[in-house]
Symmetry: C2
């Protein structure tokens, strides 16, 4: 359009994309956005009725962009806009870009939260704003009536109108709409809204749903199927808002606690695969019902769904036998993104709803790791970023925009509290924080479900309901790190029996010793075997990281992101004390909560992210630790505890970590620790 | 490849396409064909194992093409080809184009019937050879085994191999294959055959089926769903051969004899549409079973299906309410080609099989008329061709490569024997041929089911089983034409009562007279009302034709094609006598049998025909007779019988029309009248 920009024409800059161009006065802001490829939502196609195309004018001189913007440079609200504002309310400062025209230089802000009908917004949802460009868009058109002189079919005239008004040249239509199209077109005098799904890889567009008249809202799902927990968000495709979230235990747990026992179950039972697939699909469908009810949304208004999962969950969800993933060469049935109809998995969404599953990186590094990579974007920045997602395996991604490498390290389930004598799942009653007095060797701890420390007044009453039941993953890490800092265990991980003389908390257990953390029912001790189990796990994790650092030829990393539930609740300081992760500036270490869920939401809300992560995953160099001779070497070296200065020689303040949410009761997304630095600063006072 | 042809290189000409190019010596014939875009089937991808790529070398000097071809200009059979010929037999003169290389100038014939395993070939199938380029192709590949260093999924390695060997860059995979791919790949040591479906409109390719090892045969269906009869062919997609055919009455007849009564049934009964859709889909599925059994083919080897039908059958088959087609503006729900999965219509083919339904031309001119147009190709030639398909409505297409117009004329059911006093369906016992002696006014006739004339010895015995039950459409036409030629009826269609004096066959019926054709049980007469009914029907048909001739600004047509069962059995001479059709050289008038079925087969076997007919249908000018004031005028003029010289003043020879097949008993395709000229010549002796 503006092949040779006319410098007399106004300059328009769109934020946050930064795209800019010159346009003749009188051009609508919406047209300008479209010409520049800036995505501004619009359902009604410029009729000033849907209100989705809201923008804001930024005022001031923007030196960096050499542009001065003022509200005088946009046309004053005309009658259509006024009519809309009267009927539906337009927030102050907002304009409808389909009506407002360019009259001078402008800096235009495209808000990513154009909420039309006020919705319940969850406080605990990730607050990240995702630039929207959803794969499914709503397009309102007024179709020509049938004409004997031009006997095009109803559907063909609809397609013709979508071509004329929305520029769709090749548009396929889902078969199930053929029997509905006559009725839908005639209900509101040939005005309809079509939902159009875009697949950029195939370069195809499909009409997947139709409504009579103006349909101004549509939803999508972002879902992370973990081995333990399934977490789901219901998101408005038009405003980007999370309208409901829910989590539930993965019902496959009854077939096997961890991944490998589920693979075994498939191998041992002829119907095992089908049973597990049915179980997870049904639970997903139940979760959909929960978020739909919570969000006040009809399931048939859900048009798109993005799923992420580790490779075994990925296969079982899709109905694929995961047996091959149980042994070398760990061959995935499919590694690329999976695109199909939600109805193929009987999810009970709109009949035409689509499903997208992110690509898997390798046999041990799944679509969930791809989603974390999409969320954190190591490949979108210059720093050497380390991403660690610890489960039964640790998925490790290391890289920057030049190169990204990834591996999975066999940490085993110790970090999740398994293989630990008093270990348990993260559930109310589990010890999650531990401090040991450097002098007296007396412990204090906190359990999930209470914010009091064990030596606070009222602790016994606060935990009366659950009791103190065991120790979870983050608890055992802190316990062992504190034991190490107190000298209870040595650098090579031996519990020092000589200390039994100083405190009765050191107990003899045959040839080895244990530390008594809690005298009660049950008694909770940290045994020599517990220390060994954590040593093995942390050595595996560190060896994997080290291997990737060697591949990248770096000695240090610039930033570390802890993904997943374990990462959310582990204290990075203790992780460094124990040597789980390499040294890094503390303010560059962050927990990113359910980054996999965030990545899923990004893929849901912006189709460019789908192509982006598909390309990134193809580009990622996959390192198979089992094939790397140096892995074993690193592993052996990493068994010892690192020689560290005690970072907290005089612990006095209580640490304010975020309260842990109990997944079965509500949302599953862990909050980001935005104020880690502040907390650490406070702790050091 | 040959951007700048090197004139020292051998010249290769492929027939029947006529494509040509120069290639370096040593190029395989298959490679040369591919580079020129000549479709040569090959499943094994040049491994000399499938035998599908057979070609023949034509010998001689081809002056028109300035090329001399000789078998010395192709490499002698090498060891791979010899091995194939030994194992599977190669017909004399045939070569495998993947092994034979170009050594000099060549004229290559690409046979369209490369039969590998001998199949039952129906004698009565249309013998037209259709150049093959099917939408579904089989591609054999040997997939790389899983490799921990390069953790691509099984499916992704398959796609990679299909890209490398077959050039597929963007390949989607049907979801249902995800759960099978592991097993299929491992059964024959990573060798598989993929069936790939191409949609040229969307420019997409999908893997729709997979088999272990080399799969060397696949089938498709071509099916015409008529109001009365459903006719189906099972066709090899690899050889183009029709391996089985079957026909059956349309079970919707129990809901209503003709189209409008079926629409009424839908309007009156809430479940009417569903019941009729289920009935026709089930009957189609039963026919599939019949052709599969007859052809010795597994239903799961059927990968593609093409359907044609009139608009109401089209809608009911697809599950669309046809009510809108019952009244103005006769709006089709969909006019464009319908493409979906056969499983959407529960047809019980291969799970990934596709379905293609030709576009409809207008509310009264359906996908069957489009198929006839595809078969006869008025738009592919210069002559002004008239195509007439007579049913309850007559579909009329008129045109040449410059312009094609089409209309539907409301002939009513008289031509089908309805509304005629002694009329009946074409069934055994129905009078179908009539001759009346010019002097004595005595009739002789033939009935369906016997080849004897009524005055032949043994006639009574021959028809003893059925009796003479009535008169069918072609019979009533001949009867009235003969009555006219004998002067029994006048130009304005009045039965001449004065002739009662000459023969008792002229009977008084109140104010009008009738002609007694057969004295028996029942008595069969041609009444004044019968004559009127045929006059009305023929006037409607002729008025429609005349309207289209006016649109085309022509006074005469160059050729006439009669499509459909009516067209097969009507004698064009009598049609001209009565003025159903405009005058035309008799040798340019032909019956083309089930041209709709032929069109369906063309669309099945060559995907270019799909795009072709879609473009043609868009281009066809649709004339709605109801909106044309001149239609009524033509109609009134066409009521009179034309002033004609009796073409058979001395009838002496028996006419040898092809024996009519009874549809319910076997194949539904009517034979083409290839030897009409000979017969007419004989008749005139």
């Amino acid at each position: 359009m503006n092949a040779r920009p006319n410098h007399a024409e106004p300059l328009v800059l769109f934020m946050p994309s930064g795209k800019r161009g010159r346009f003749p006065k009188g051009t609508t802001v919406l047209d300008a956005a479209r010409q520049l490829g800036v995505y501004v939502e619009s359902v009604c196609g410029g009729r000033a009725t849907c209100g989705r195309c809201q923008i804001e004018v930024q005022e001031g001189h923007f030196a960096k962009h050499q542009i001065s913007s003022s509200k005088q440079n946009i046309s004053p609200p005309g009658s259509t806009e006024a009519r809309y504002a009267e009927k539906r309310e337009l927030p102050p400062g907002r304009r409808l870009s389909c009506s407002a025209t360019i009259e001078g230089d402008l800096v235009i802000d495209v808000p990513q939260d154009a909420v039309i009908n006020a919705q319940v917004v969850r406080k605990d949802a990730d607050t990240r704003v995702i630039e929207r460009y959803p794969a499914v868009q709503l397009c309102y058109v007024e179709v020509e009536q049938p004409d004997m002189h031009k006997p095009l079919g109803d559907l063909d005239r609809l397609k013709e109108q979508l071509r004329k008004e929305w520029g769709y040249k090749r548009l396929a239509v889902d078969f199930h709409l053929l029997s509905d199209v006559q009725n839908i077109l005639r209900q509101e005098n040939w005005a309809v809204t079509a939902a159009i799904h875009h697949d950029d890889e195939d370069d195809t567009a499909h009409v997947i749903a139709l409504w009579p008249g103006l349909k101004n809202e549509a939803y999508g799902l972002a879902c992370d199927i973990g081995s333990t927990t399934i977490a789901m968000h219901l998101v408005s495709l038009l405003s980007g808002r999370v309208v409901a979230s829910a989590g539930a235990p993965n019902p496959q747990i009854r077939f096997g606690e961890d991944l490998m026992s589920r693979v075994s179950y498939v191998m041992m039972n002829p119907d095992g695969r089908q049973a597990m697939t049915r179980a997870v699909q049904q639970e997903v469908s139940r979760l959909i019902e929960r978020v739909a009810v919570e969000g006040g949304v009809n399931r048939t208004d859900i048009l798109d769904a993005v799923f992420v999962a580790n490779p075994i969950m990925h296969h079982l969800f899709l109905g694929i036998d995961p047996t091959e993933l149980g042994g070398a060469p760990f061959a995935l049935a499919v590694s690329g993104a999976v695109k199909t109809r939600a109805s193929d998995l009987r999810l009970g969404l709109n009949r035409g709803a689509r499903l997208y599953m992110l690509p898997c990186i390798a046999g041990h590094v799944g679509a969930d790791a791809a989603a974390v990579t999409l969320s954190e974007g190591p490949d979108r920045q210059d720093e050497m970023m380390l991403i660690v997602d610890v489960g039964t395996n640790a998925e490790i991604v290391l890289g920057n925009r030049h190169r990204v490498v990834a591996a999975s390290s066999p940490t085993g389930p110790a970090f999740e509290g398994a293989e630990i004598s008093s270990g348990q799942r993260a559930a109310p009653g589990a010890i999650e924080r531990v401090r040991i007095d450097r002098e007296t060797l007396e412990p204090r701890f906190r359990v999930i479900g209470s914010e009091l420390w064990s030596d606070d007044p009222g602790f016994a009453e606060a935990v009366a309901e659950t009791g103190v039941t065991g120790i979870c993953g983050s608890g055992i890490i802190e316990a062992i790190a504190e034991m190490y800092l107190c000298g209870i265990i040595s650098e090579d991980g031996v519990v020092d029996g000589a200390l039994a003389a100083r405190t009765p908390r050191i107990e003899s257990q045959g040839r080895t010793f244990a530390y008594l953390l809690h005298e009660g029912e049950p008694r909770i001790t940290v045994t020599q075997n517990d220390v060994r189990a954590i040593q093995l796990a942390k050595a595996a994790l560190y060896a994997g990281i080290k291997l990737l650092m060697e591949k990248q030829e770096v000695e240090t990393v610039d930033s570390i992101r802890f993904a997943g539930a374990f990462g959310t609740f582990i204290d990075p300081m203790y992780a460094m004390v124990l040597g789980l992760i390499p040294d890094c500036e503390l303010e560059k270490v962050s927990a990113v909560g359910n980054a996999a869920g965030t990545g899923a939401r990004m893929a849901l809300l912006n189709r460019n992210h789908r192509r982006g992560i598909e390309a990134t995953v193809r580009r990622i160099e996959k390192i198979e630790t089992a094939l790397e001779p140096k892995f074993q070497e690193h592993f052996v070296h990493a068994m010892a505890l690192p020689n560290k200065v005690d970072p907290f020689p005089k612990l006095s303040l209580q640490v304010q970590l975020p309260p842990r949410k109990v997944l079965a009761e509500g949302g599953a997304e862990a909050p980001r620790r935005r104020s880690r630095e502040k907390r650490i600063a406070r702790r050091r006072q």
